[in-house]
Point group: C2
Chain length 354, copies 2
């Protein structure tokens, strides 16, 4: 059913003609059947004789008919559009995820409707109102600040897929990345390289994932019998400036450290710049590890060691889960496990060569 819609618009695009309001009724007339029959063929709602089906398919192709989503939404109660609450559409991390969502939704004939919550619970709540008023068929929330309760309530009204937290509720599916293990891996990596005084730049404490990453850091230290030192943990806010400031503060405090683990890549970039400004080289003087594996991590100087966070796949998974939820199936998607990507920003303590 869905494929037909895509095919139809493809044909129309290929013919390059300008828009004309071809309605379902016109198709019906052209095919010599009733509108209901056309509708049934379009939606696979009922079995139709092969003969009429062909006649209708031909008419659709001929006329370049594209169903009107408005009318469809009004009559049928669905809009073939999925609301996506993101925090910042221009974030390097979310951008990739959105791209994954779009790609997964498209073949099913659904369109994403993006709204930005700006890391602000009340803005997010407003976003959800907007989406509802537009009668989206479901809502995907990319790691926001809404309370679990708010999401559960929302899920009573329409399917919800949320990333960045674990949560169980009817009509709701949560897709959580294992930030704890990610933090663990990153820290273990540095420990394995011989580092013992490892500074940590935290993420925004309001994010659950930030705390998980911190827990991973602490656990790795414990496992290696390295005492935790609060002075080596500096607060950040997940963006570049905060990483830069964190390092400035760290340096000003005269704490000794040979490595830095930043809770995300953006802060790692800021940290790298601060180190550079203080004439500290990465990785010769200080090893640096980030988190997320943004596309740009590969082009940092030196290329950043980091934890791979599959944002694109996450978007795809979320979208597919939503499609399943809508179809009444139970989503089973699992987020890929975190994986360390060792590049050139980290090296063995005291080694001259990499």
């Amino acid at each position: 059913m869905k494929n037909k819609i895509v095919a139809a618009s493809g044909v129309k695009a290929a013919s390059g003609r300008s828009y004309a309001p071809v309605t379902l009724d016109m198709v019906a007339a052209a095919a010599g059947v009733s509108p209901s029959t056309v509708s049934r063929i379009l939606n696979g709602t009922a079995v139709v004789s092969a003969l009429k089906k062909k006649a209708v398919d031909d008419a659709i192709a001929e006329l370049g008919f594209v169903p009107n989503p408005m009318a469809r939404g009004l009559a049928g109660g669905r809009t073939l559009s999925i609301g996506v609450v993101t925090q910042a559409i221009d974030s390097p991390f979310y951008g990739v995820a959105l791209s994954g969502i779009e790609d997964a939704l498209d073949p099913a004939g659904y369109s994403p409707l993006f709204v930005s919550g700006q890391w602000n619970a009340s803005a997010e709540a407003r976003c959800i109102e907007v989406l509802r008023s537009r009668r989206v068929d479901g809502i995907i929330v990319l790691t926001g600040r809404l309370s679990d309760q708010a999401l559960k309530t929302c899920a009573k009204a329409l399917p919800v897929v949320v990333t960045g937290r674990s949560l169980k509720a009817p009509g709701l599916f949560a897709l959580n990345f294992d930030n704890f293990t990610g933090g663990l891996l990153a820290t273990q990596h540095l420990i394995t390289l011989g580092h013992r005084r490892i500074a940590f730049i935290t993420g925004d404490p309001a994010h659950p994932d930030a705390n998980d990453r911190l827990r991973g850091y602490r656990t790795a230290l414990e496992q290696a019998d390295i005492p935790f030192e609060a002075a080596l943990v500096v607060p950040g806010e997940y963006h570049e400036v905060s990483g830069q400031q964190a390092v400035d503060r760290l340096l000003a405090s005269h704490q000794q450290f040979t490595a830095i683990f930043a809770a995300n890549d953006q802060m790692a970039f800021g940290a790298a710049l601060a180190l550079h400004r203080h004439s500290l080289r990465v990785p010769e003087d200080i090893s640096l590890v980030g988190f997320d594996d943004l596309p740009s991590a590969l082009y940092a100087i030196p290329p950043l060691s980091t934890i791979h966070h599959p944002a694109y796949e996450l978007g795809q998974l979320a979208a597919r889960a939503m499609l399943q939820l809508i179809a009444g199936e139970k989503p089973t998607a699992e987020v890929p496990a975190p994986r360390l990507v060792a590049r050139q920003s980290s090296r063995r303590l005291g080694s001259a060569a990499p």
Copy 2:
């Protein structure tokens, strides 16, 4: 079916929703007026007595009524949504522009509907079909590959705002950034610093802006009486890898050069990495200038000198122009002029200190 209320709740119950649809009719009933009066107040279509207006406004607030965009769209009115054809929603440049669009549209009650064309004319054509089928009130095309003709045709059916090219047609408004001057400024900057052998990494030749930037480069050379050398111009494709490869090729060709101007920041980042890999320092050995002033340019090491391209403002301007077009006004927006942002990746030729 006995009456509307029963019918409505029946539908909702069937689809398992608890979201109570408040309709315009209900508002009318609550306020003791006719539906058309409510509609008029909602749209400002006609003058209504202050008394009834207040009653209706109260009822709307009381019931938490939100007009159904589907019904509104179907009935022939607006959908309050603007289609935005972007090339890659996860591009650092476009992400910022989208953000500007969203922010400018929101206060007017419009929502953007983003679709990605992937730098592919036929995909873009399909995008436009999708947007039209969703009955968007207008289309903003962010620098695509569609032919001017295709855009003009499209503009006959609904308002179109396009960036990245100059074009005049009824119902169409083009917002073009002055890429030529940008290229000129960047090159002049390097020349002023004493550089004479300046390599240029081009953008994808399929983009008009890429050629304009190249023209700017050539013109600056001419003005300074520096002979143009084809061997110093290497093709790129606007992404990091291509910048990296361009430098590899340049170095392999044994051409002498003291500076590189990359047609966008992403290629400049790739170029910087390639230089780093070849143990060439920026800016001590090679000066580097980019184009676009991506947010991350500020955090490159060293921070990248570049041409400021106001992506966010561009998005805002495009959105506002669209709003004007819809209102029947003639947009007059002008894109801010390009501006050089000198940071640390470029310095005077032969100088030891910055």
